[in-house]
Structures are given as C-alpha cells and as structure tokens.
C-alpha cells in the first residue's frame, strides 16, 4: 500500500515536472522578443526604382514584374511595383506624382499618351532630375521627354500581322481592324504597321472599328460591323484586351473557321483560343525581358555606363504564333 502511494506520488510529480519543463522551454526557448532588425539610416543598396503600370495583376505585367525583380536583385537595386487596376488613369497619375515627389532614382512606367502624363513626365520629373523609361507602351518622346523605351516594336508587329493577313486572305477581302478609343501610342504604331503592308494589296480593304475598353463595347462594336459588312473575312484586335470578347461574339454569330482572326495579345486566354484554332495568329511578346532589360538599362544609365541611350528605344523580341504551326 505504502509502496503504491509512493509510486503514484512520484508519477504525479514527474508528470507535473514534465509539463512544467516543456512549458518553460516553450516560453523561453522560443523567446525572441526582438523586433525585426532596424537597419542603419544609410541606404545599404543601390537605387530605388519604381515600376508603375495601369494594369496590375495581369499575366503580361506579372511577367514584366518578375523580370524586373530578377534584374533588380541582380544589380542590387530596390524595386517596387506600383499600379492601378483596370486602367484607372487617375490612380496611375497619382502614383506617378507620388513617385516623383518621393524622389526615387528612376521610374519605369507603362506609357500613357495623355497631357497629364506628359506634364508630369516633362515638368515634375525633369525638375527633380528623375529619369523616366517607358516600358511595354511607349509615348512620343517629343511630348514626354522620356529617356528611352523598352518593349516590343509595335510597328514591326503590325507589319508582321499585315504580312500574315495578306498571305492568309490571298490578297483579297475585307479586314476589320478593332482599335480602342484610347489613343495609345502602341496602338497607332501597330495600326500603321498593318496599313503599311496592306497598302501594297489594293484589294484588301481595311475597316478600322473603334471600340471601347469594356467587354460590352467590344461585343456591340463587333455586332455592328458584322451586320454592316457581312462579307468580312478577317478580324484584327489591335488593342490589347479585346480579342477574347471579339472572338466570343463572332463565334456566337457564325462559324469561327470562316474568319481569320488575329491579335497582338498573348494572354493565356488568347493562347487557349489559338490552340483551339479559333484564332489564326497572335503576336507573342517578351514581357519578362522587358522588365529585365528596363531595370538593367536604368541601373546602368544611373551608373553612367550606358550613355547616351537610344531614344527610339530598345526592342524586345516579338514572334508571330500561327495556329497552323502549333503542334
């Protein structure tokens, strides 16, 4: 009896001791009440760069961002990506203004051909000595005083589509060129590129249709033109994000295989359409390279290595993807 009691007591004692010890270890071993380390007041890394876009979280810009981050890490620059969603110009301009007022070392920006943008870029940024590189979308250099442009050669892209069009149509037919109502620089370049080819084929009749930014507007515009011109043979979505809506609407009214549809966009959605042979060809850009090259050039320019910059810009690779050539 006595032995049993002693054993029982020591067992209780051990259990309590064990729990207390484990709790003690929990509390004091993981005891790390030091806040995240404060760094010195001096900037330990190089340049503070900001990438500003209007289309945050789109696949294209995600790629630009990842490329830029890679390059920033490589060159020891600090990069932050600011942006607005759904092409909100007001927010975009505000971000620009904040970036300029924050006196960052360089701004990589998706060009926006508006007076406000140009005013900010020419007056404010120049005043503070902040270099502005446009990326993916260019603005005319004479309006914005941007240092350079990094991105696709949209004129050349237009020419590539134009050539393909002519080839596919067999030098005859009506072509709908769907553009956005926003007068973007890249859009006009693409348009010019297409037209510069098509002018050699007098029998091909380009019809420029101005649609809005939203899906509804694209659908309406597509409907209207198909009603008005039943004999259309090809569609080209010149602006960025209209292709899928356009393809969907065409598919509702007629057999898609009857048409040649082209896009300058290479979003996953478009690529799926291409694979399903609902589109004839798209232009594939190199967003990652844009980001990478943009940061690299900015750093080098800030370090004074790559001077002078090419005012026309540095073009990244573009490629025409044709549905027929896909495996």
């Amino acid at each position: 009896m006595r032995k049993l009691v002693i054993v029982l007591l020591s067992a209780i004692c051990l259990v309590l001791l064990g729990f207390t010890l484990s709790s003690f270890i929990h509390v004091f071993q993981n005891y790390n009440l030091s806040a995240p380390a404060n760094v010195g007041s001096t900037n330990k890394t190089g340049y503070r760069l900001i990438l500003i876009t209007q289309e945050l979280d789109t696949p294209f810009w995600d790629k630009v961002e990842s490329g830029a981050s890679k390059a920033a890490a490589k060159y020891g620059a600090e990069l932050e990506v600011w942006g607005s969603y759904g092409a909100n110009q007001e927010d975009f301009l505000k971000n620009m203004e904040i970036a300029i007022a924050s006196k960052v070392d360089g701004i990589l920006v998706q060009g926006l051909n508006t007076d406000e943008f140009n005013q900010l870029a020419t007056v404010k940024a120049a005043e503070n000595g902040i270099p502005i590189f446009t990326i993916a979308n260019d603005v005319p250099i004479e309006d914005s005083l941007r240092r350079t442009y990094i991105g696709s050669d949209h004129y050349k892209a237009g020419q590539m589509i134009g050539t393909q069009l002519a080839e596919d149509l067999g030098q005859k037919g009506k072509v709908v060129l769907m553009v956005s109502d926003r007068q973007e620089d890249f859009q006009s370049k693409r348009l010019n590129g297409i037209l510069s080819i098509l002018k050699f084929y007098p029998n091909i009749e380009p019809i420029t249709v101005v649609a809005g930014d939203t899906r509804e507007k694209v659908v309406t515009a597509t409907n209207e033109i198909m009603n008005k011109e039943p004999g259309v043979a090809a569609f080209v979505s010149v602006t960025a994000n209209n292709a899928s809506a356009m393809v969907q609407e065409i598919g509702k009214r007629a057999q898609l295989s009857r048409f040649h549809i082209y896009s300058f966009d290479d979003s996953p959605e478009i690529k799926t359409l291409l694979k399903e042979k609902k589109m004839s060809g798209i232009i594939e850009q190199s967003p990652e390279m844009m980001g990478e090259l943009g940061v690299q050039l900015m750093v080098k320019w800030l370090q004074g290595e790559s001077f002078p910059l090419k005012y026309d810009g540095y073009y990244t690779d573009i490629k025409l993807l044709k549905a027929d050539e896909l495996p």
Binding site: C13, L33, A35, P36, S41, A101, S102
Partner: protein
C-alpha cells in the same frame, strides 16, 4: 545541531526562494514584453505625428495664403519645424521591411516642405497664381503623406505580424506555464511539508509510545530514535533514565533476595543451637555433681582428687559464662592456673610450666577464654606428642603502652607457610578438635582482632624443630571503637 527551529527556518527559506525566483523571472519577462509593446506603440504614434503635423502645416499655410500676416507665418514655420522633427524621428524607424517606403516617405515630407517654402516665397513675390499652384501641390502631397502613413502602418503590421503572433503565443504559453508551475509547486510543497512535519512528529510519537510503555512498567524496551534534532537528544536522555531505573530495580531485587536468604540461615542456625543445647546435660547439674564428688573425695581423704575436681568445675563454669564478655587478664590467669593444675595432674613430670607474670599488668581487659586455648594448643602440640615432655613459658610484661603476653613452648615448631595459614585463618583443620573448651586457635585470633580493632594483636614466631612463640600485644587502654 540540526534543530527543529532550523528545519522550520530552512523550509521557509526554500519556499521564499522559489517564490522570489519565480517572481523575478516573470517580472523580468513582463517588463521586456511591456518595453516591446511600448516600442511598437511609439512607432505608430510617431507615424501618426507626421501625418498630423503635415496636415497642420497645410492648414496653417492655407490660413497664411488667405490673409498673410507675420503671426500666421510664424505658425507655418512652427508647424514646419514640428514636421521636420517628426521626420527626424521617423528616420530611425527604418528596417528591412519598410526601407523603401520609408525613404519615399521622408522624401515626400521634403517635397511637402519644399512646396510650402516655394509657396511662401512666391507669395512674397506677389506671384499669387504660382503660389496657389504650389499650395495645391502641398495639399496633394499632404494627402499622399497621409495615405503613405497608412501604407507604412500596413507594412509595419506585415513586418511585425510574425512578431505579434509570437507575442500572443508567448502570453498564452506563459499562462500555461503559470498554471503548471503553480500545480507543481503546490504539489511539491504539500509533499515536502508532509514529509517535514513527519520528521518532527514521528520521533515525538515514538517517544510518547516509549513513555507509555515505561509508565506501564516495561523497562526493557530499548528506545532508539534516528533523528538529528532535540527529539533525539530527549530520546537518548529518556533511554538512559530507563536503563538507570532498570538497574536500580534489579539491584533492589538482588538485595531483597540476599536478605531473605540470610534470614533463613539465621533461623537455621538458631534452631541448630537450640538442638545442641537440648542435647547437652544441664551444666548446673554437672557442677553440683562435680562439687559433691569433690567433697566426697575430700571427706574420704583424697585431697588431690578433690582439688582436681574443683578445678575442673571452675574451668567448666568459667567456660560457660565468660565467652561473651570481656574479663580482666587476672581472671584469665587464674583460669589458666586451674587448667595447668589439671594438665599437671595428667602429665605429671612431663609438663614443666614456667610463669613470669608482672602482677601490675593484670588489670588489662581481654576477651574471655583467649589465653587458655593458646596454652592448650601448646600442650597439645609441644607436650602431648613428646614422651620426655616439655616446658611451656608464660610471660606477662609491660612494654610502652602495651602489655605483652608471651606463650613459648619447645615443641617441634612449624613452617612459615603454616604460620601464615593460621594467621589468615585459612587453616581449616577441624577446629576445636581436642580442645577442652571447643574453642580453636583461629577463633581466638578472630576474636582478639575484632575486640581491639587491630591486625597486629597476635604474632607467632616459630621455626621447625625450635619451638613456637605466640606473642599477644594488648593495649593498656582499649581504643575507642
């Protein structure tokens, strides 16, 4: 010595120590946590301060532009200073998480201050339109600052997110630890206190038990307590007391036993004496008969026989009554002469008795029947076995404060061994054998020693073949005691 008091003190000290240790740890921990909380709060307050002071600056700038006055200008300047101070403090909040935003933030503040300055300067130059433009910009910048403050706070929260969660977890863990520790300490203290109180009370219980046994009269159980405090001392003392009592009791018991045996012996002795008396012929009848015989012998003309019978009667009477009280040496000598007369009748020419007595010494007190047995001894050993007989010399003389009595014979003497045997009363031959009075030599020696209280009362000088000399040394005045 490990005293009970010391034990209690040490228990208290241990408990106190544990309590203090826990208190210190927890207090230290809490203090640290508190500091962290304060730091974080401080960060937030500083950021808020920037936001507020920038708004304040814009407000006072607006007031100034509406109606320029020196006091309003100083307001603007005060607000600007406040903003710049806040900016300085904010600069210290830089960490890995917010470095970029913070730099932007600081630059934004600079831009705001620049715009403000420009606006004031332009206003001084009366270029109101531009001043207003700059003011608008300042307003926008102030708005951006407020927004960026929110961004910074957000970053702050994100950066410290892990840290905050850690803190919350810590406090939960701490609570758990507190509960476990309380349980453990309570349990241990209960056990310890129980054991401790047992170590004090168990010896007392055992002592109580022992006392109860003792009070019931069982003195033979050993009391042993293995403690190291006063109780054990008490127990030892108690045990010693028990042993003492035990010893005393057994002593009393043996004494009582001895006494009872003695009593028995005495009774036996008395009985045997009575028996022996009963077996004797009435001595008075014997004396009267001897007297009658003496008279008859006298009447019949046998004078010598008559005298002899008288002597025998006298000797016998003396013998009967003088044994138990002191007599004078004179009386002893008289009886001695009666005895010699009888022995002379027996040994005729063989016994030659020489008497040299200083009559002045005969008053000395002496136990009865002491000299006659010595003479008789000499007769037995120096006359009887020798056919030609011998001489016995009896001397009484003074020497200093003593009276010396000497009895000398010319017999065969004896060895040193025998002398010492006789003197130490180890000569256990059948005493009194052959003695007329039944009193032996040993008896005489003992009685003399007892009577005078001295060991050197008697001395024997003897050599084999050269006779024996017994010397009695009697003090003239008997010493008291």
């Amino acid at each position: 010595m490990n005293t009970v008091q010391k034990k209690i003190l040490s228990l208290t000290a241990i408990v106190l120590f544990i309590m203090v240790a826990i208190w210190f740890i927890l207090t230290y921990y809490n203090q640290k946590m508190q500091d962290q909380y304060n730091d974080i709060l401080q960060r937030y307050l500083q950021m808020n301060e920037v936001s507020e002071s920038s708004q304040q600056l814009v407000t006072s700038l607006n007031n100034y532009i509406q109606a320029p006055s020196p006091s309003k200008l100083s307001n603007v300047e005060g607000d600007r200073t406040r903003l710049l101070d806040a900016q300085l403090q904010i600069a210290d909040l830089r960490n890995n998480g917010n470095q970029f935003t913070l730099t932007n933030y600081l630059n934004l503040i600079d831009s705001l201050v620049d715009s403000t300055n420009r606006s004031i300067r332009l206003l001084d130059e009366k270029n109101n339109e531009e001043a207003l433009n700059n003011f608008t910009e300042a307003t926008r910048l102030s708005k951006y600052i407020s927004e960026m403050t929110l961004t910074l706070l957000g970053t702050e929260l994100k950066t410290y997110d892990q840290f905050y969660r850690g803190m919350i977890n810590q406090s939960v863990e701490l609570k758990k630890l507190g509960v476990w520790m309380l349980a453990l300490i309570t349990f241990l203290l209960l056990l310890f206190t129980y054991w401790f109180s047992l170590s004090i009370t168990r010896p007392i219980q055992r002592l109580t038990q022992a006392a109860r046994e003792l009070s019931r009269g069982r003195f033979d159980t050993h009391i042993e307590i293995n403690a190291n405090d006063e109780i054990s001392f008490l127990a030892k003392t108690f045990d010693r007391m028990r042993i003492n009592i035990n010893n005393l009791i057994s002593e009393i018991q043996t004494k009582a036993q001895l006494e009872s045996e003695l009593q028995k012996n005495k009774l036996l002795l008395q009985e045997s004496q009575l028996r022996s008396l009963q077996s004797q012929i009435n001595p008075h009848f014997l004396f009267n008969t001897l007297d009658t015989l003496s008279k008859k012998a006298y009447l019949e003309g046998s004078l010598e026989t008559s005298d002899l019978l008288t002597s025998v009667a006298r000797l016998l009477r003396y013998n009967l009554k003088r044994l138990d009280r002191p007599v004078t040496l004179y009386e002893e000598v008289r009886v001695l002469r009666e005895y010699i007369f009888i022995q002379k009748t027996r040994f005729t020419e063989r016994l030659h008795f020489v008497e040299e007595v200083d009559e002045d010494c005969l008053y000395v007190q002496i136990p009865g029947l002491t000299i006659q047995p010595i003479i008789e001894n000499a007769v037995i050993h120096a006359i009887e076995p020798l056919e030609e007989g011998g001489t016995i010399t009896f001397r009484v003389r003074k020497e200093d404060s003593d009276v010396i009595v000497e009895i000398e014979d010319e017999g065969s003497g004896m060895s040193e061994d025998k002398i010492s045997q006789i003197m130490e009363d180890r000569f256990s031959s059948q005493e009194g054998d052959g003695h007329s009075t039944g009193i032996g030599f040993g008896n005489v020696i003992n009685r003399l020693k007892l009577y005078y209280g001295r060991e050197d009362v008697m001395a024997i000088q003897s050599e084999v073949g050269k006779g024996t000399k017994v010397i009695l040394k009697l003090p003239k005045e008997r010493e008291a005691g």
